[in-house]
Amino acid sequence: MSYYIAVATSDGEIIDTHFGHASSFLILEVDDLGNYEEIEDREVRPACGGGECHACAGSLMNEIAESLKDVDFVLCARSGPHAEEALRRYGIALLDVMMPISRAVPKIHKFRQRYRRNVVI
């Protein structure tokens, strides 16, 4: 069964955007063989809009998490504990990693195949 990964990226190739700065997430659909395709560019209200922090304790983080609830993994360059906590409530794993999407997705797929039954991160 296929699953979805959300990526915070500025150019569609490298994961380079902070979670709170992302105004949209690229949604990838990955099938059982690890092949993936971009299906959507989902827009959100950035959690840390314009350098002004108003989201950490508020509902904006939850709003983003709600809008990403169908994905299993969110990849971004950097993130904070509030983001992780908000996403965890929806069973979404938030991973900080700076690398090309084409390298990251196979690693996630490999991990998911090995530990799908055993590990919930």
Partner: protein, 443 residues
């Protein structure tokens, strides 16, 4: 799956890093989650007599903060970066890269990472410390094995008088530092050249000298026998096992005579040392004799809950020198099944006619405490760790702490080793009996 345990007296395998930290100049770099280090300090560090390793305190140990991302993407590169920075910023003489459960489950190759630092300013070795395999004694053994296998080099010469000391687990044996100092004095006094790797005044130079020893001395019922056997296999160094850290005149004298016979030392010198020390011991005991006789009530039996090493030491002293009888002995540090018989044999090897006490192996300290609360003699004495203080109080017993976690106090250089240690334990024991109102002043 094993049952969960209560009142743990051991740390997870990562507690093994305390063995590394006890060697001056050795710095572990941990490839573990950010909270993993803290759990061991609750048993071995601060709560264990207020101890902290010197010069590298627990809080400065570099850690990769292994997180979700490392699980998915592999943490090898992350570890490599942390080691690079450690070499840059720390003045260590040896770095040991260690990993914990998570890194072992996902299969990060820390050996490969450590090997890639060959030829760097500070040598880097690796040790695997997955907590799902064993406790801190397993970790201790893993650290020593790594040092022997990856760091030691043959020295090409053997000094027949040099003796390496093993069997005392630093920090887990709360009195390790004082014990090692006194042991060093004793070994020197009878004509040996002790080579101790842990603690003050020792360090990496002593580690390098390990292969040139005439023999290895193992002072425990089973711990470190694997290391002694490994050294025997690698460097053909024979080993002598004495099954406990001797406390009091009977056991210490036996220990010295065994050493003298084994190493072919000067018997006259050793006997004169024994004579002098025993005289001194009995002088001090005599000074307290009148006081002891004036005690209104002196318990004649005791319970023990704690590590196998401390159990043997304390039981021998209490039976052979003080004349008390053990009622039940709980061994809480998960002695391997094949070693349990040896420990049992050591615990029954005392000068007592009716040895009708029980020895119970359980890792669950809570179970031992519950057992004790259910069935016990009144006004007895409990030897154990800080966990057992309240148990002892609730069953109206006196309490003497002898093993980890020792409690929120400052241990200083306190130890119960040898003749002087006998005096110290004797006085601590009677001081507790006469000041503990539950035992002392009734009836």
């Amino acid at each position: 799956m094993a049952e969960c345990i209560e009142q743990s007296r051991v740390a997870c395998a990562l507690g093994g890093i305390y063995t590394a930290l006890a060697i001056d100049g050795v710095l572990p770099v941990t490839h573990t989650g950010p909270g993993c280090l803290a759990q061991a300090s609750d048993i071995l560090g601060r709560v264990n007599g207020g101890q902290a390793p010197v010069p590298f305190e627990e809080s400065v140990v570099p850690c990769t903060d292994f997180c979700n991302t490392d699980v998915v993407f592999g943490g090898g590169e992350h570890l490599r970066t942390v080691i690079e920075k450690t070499i840059q910023y720390y003045d260590a003489k040896l770095i040991i890269a260690v990993d914990g459960c998570t890194a072992e489950i996902v299969g990060d190759d820390i050996e490969e990472v450590a090997e890639s630092f060959e030829g760097s300013r500070i040598p880097v070795i690796s040790a695997k410390l997955p907590g799902f395999v064993g406790n801190n004694l397993f970790g201790h053994s893993q650290i020593l094995k790594s040092i022997v296998n990856q760091y030691l080099e043959p020295t090409g010469e053997v000094n027949p008088l040099q003796v390496n000391v093993f069997g005392i687990v630093p920090f887990y044996d709360t009195f390790w530092q004082g014990t090692l100092e006194k042991l060093e004095e004793l070994l020197e006094a009878i004509g040996l050249e002790p080579n101790i790797i842990y603690g003050h005044g020792h360090g990496i130079e002593n580690v390098k000298k390990i292969p040139s020893a005439g023999f290895n001395l193992v002072l425990s019922p089973w711990i470190d026998l694997d290391i002694a056997k490994l050294l025997e296999q690698k460097y053909k160094t024979p080993y002598l096992q004495f099954d406990n850290v001797p406390i009091g005149p009977t056991e210490t004298t036996r220990f010295i005579r065994k050493l003298v016979e084994y190493a072919g030392l000067d018997q006259v010198r050793a006997e004169s040392y024994i004579k002098k020390s025993e005289d001194r011991y009995y002088y001090y005991i005599s000074r307290h004799q009148a006081f002891v006789y004036a005690c209104k009530y002196v318990p004649k039996d005791f319970y023990f809950i704690g590590s196998a090493a401390a159990a043997v030491s304390v039981t021998r002293f209490m039976v052979n020198d003080v004349g008390s009888v053990p009622l039940r002995i709980y061994i809480t540090d998960n002695v391997p099944k094949e070693r349990q018989e040896d420990v049992r044999k050591s615990l029954y090897d005392v000068e007592l006619e009716e040895k009708d006490y029980e020895v119970i192996f359980t890792e669950d300290g809570g179970l031992a405490a519950a057992d004790l609360r259910k069935e016990h003699e009144d006004r007895s004495v409990v030897f154990g760790s800080n966990w057992d203080l309240l148990t002892a109080r609730s069953i109206g017993s006196a309490f003497v702490p002898v093993c980890a976690p020792y409690g929120q106090t400052l241990i200083g250089s306190k130890n119960y080793f040898g003749y002087e240690g006998g005096v110290a334990l004797f006085s601590d024991y009677y001081a507790e009996i006469v000041t503990n109102p539950q035992v002392a002043f009734i009836g």
